[in-house]
Symmetry: C2
Subunit: 208 residues, 2 copies
């Protein structure tokens, strides 16, 4: 009889997030999730809410103030709106181009861009994911836009460009609290944030 | 008897906001408020909430996405979290250095910076002002940090510096909705955001 007490757990399989859709994930403290940019061209809007009180959530403005940087790099801790650690960006095989400045796309954004309020959007994806868990967010936090390429130019001018990732690039996010993380494979196909072609992405829980 | 029907209304007097404190102002659509940096060195954290529904508020991430700039310039419209106009920066006599990236200071910030959770702070100022009006904000929106000098450097690195204003520099904000605007003369005296010496500022309603 083989002693399995020290065996590694079976590898957890990646879960697909179809283009234009979202997925929520409950994570225990110290678990890590890998967010895989399978095609290299896809932005993933990412939120995190504390499991014991979703009114405490990952906050871009509090995280920027802690980093004193506009964007996170590997090793950076993400803070909540109460300035407590909620997640850590523990690894990043991409060129490290992510965004914290741009709001998640929503009905109003597509109405303004293209007169199409019925367009799939990240805020609807977030709210549908939370509703499935019986959670309603009092307001929609600014997302961590993984892989999103927003150049900050002279005078603070912002330019949205296509992602600069290779297929298979990933980031690993470790939960620093029991939390709910929500991912949206951004449906934006009017400005070139996803190279104009929204694609599938994958997430994989790596365990603690 | 003099006909006063075409006379200008009496000038509305400036109201002082004491160093380290806040003030709320109810504004009707098309009214303008002047925010005066009397000493040139003071940051004013500024929020706006729709009078008919404070869950709709001035949002930095939605405004940046509309401007495609990190910071507003004269003429820019500020949007709510539902992407509707709430205010316009109609005039700015300062060098135009304002911030939208840094979170308002709060108890946790001073606890982390100096072990002093009892330090006056902008979030307490906001909440006290709203409470006086019988309003509670579900969450604290990222503020428009008027006159705040946060340089965005190579690689997105942020540097907090003293304001670059002259005494008397001002900005004019016109209400695009009936709204409640809240100002906090930032009490920060540990990092040099206010040149280490928090000062009084003034606001003056200019009418419609």
């Amino acid at each position: 009889m083989t002693d399995l007490s020290n065996a590694a757990p079976p590898p957890l399989v990646p879960q697909m997030i179809a283009a234009r859709s979202g997925r929520a994930l409950r994570m225990a403290r110290c678990e890590t999730v890998r967010v895989i940019n399978m095609h290299g061209s896809q932005v993933v809007d990412t939120w995190a809410f504390c499991a014991d009180d979703p009114a405490e959530f990952m906050s871009m403005e509090h995280s920027r103030t802690y980093w004193m940087r506009a964007n996170p790099v590997a090793g950076d801790i993400l803070l909540t709106n109460l300035r407590r650690p909620i997640a850590t960006l523990v690894a990043d095989t991409s060129p490290g181009v992510h965004d914290t400045l741009i709001a998640a796309c929503d009905k109003a954004r597509y109405a303004q861009l293209a007169g199409d309020a019925g367009h799939a959007n990240c805020v609807d994806n977030l709210q549908a994911c939370l509703a499935q868990l019986g959670i309603s967010a009092a307001s929609v936090p600014a997302p961590l836009n993984l892989f999103m390429n927003v150049a900050i130019r002279e005078g603070g001018r912002l330019e949205i460009r296509a992602p600069v990732c290779e297929p298979g690039d990933y980031v690993d996010l470790r939960a620093e609290r029991d939390l709910i993380m929500v991912f949206s494979a951004c449906p934006q196909d009017i400005v070139p944030v996803n190279g104009l072609h929204p694609r599938d992405v994958a997430i994989q829980v790596l365990g603690a």
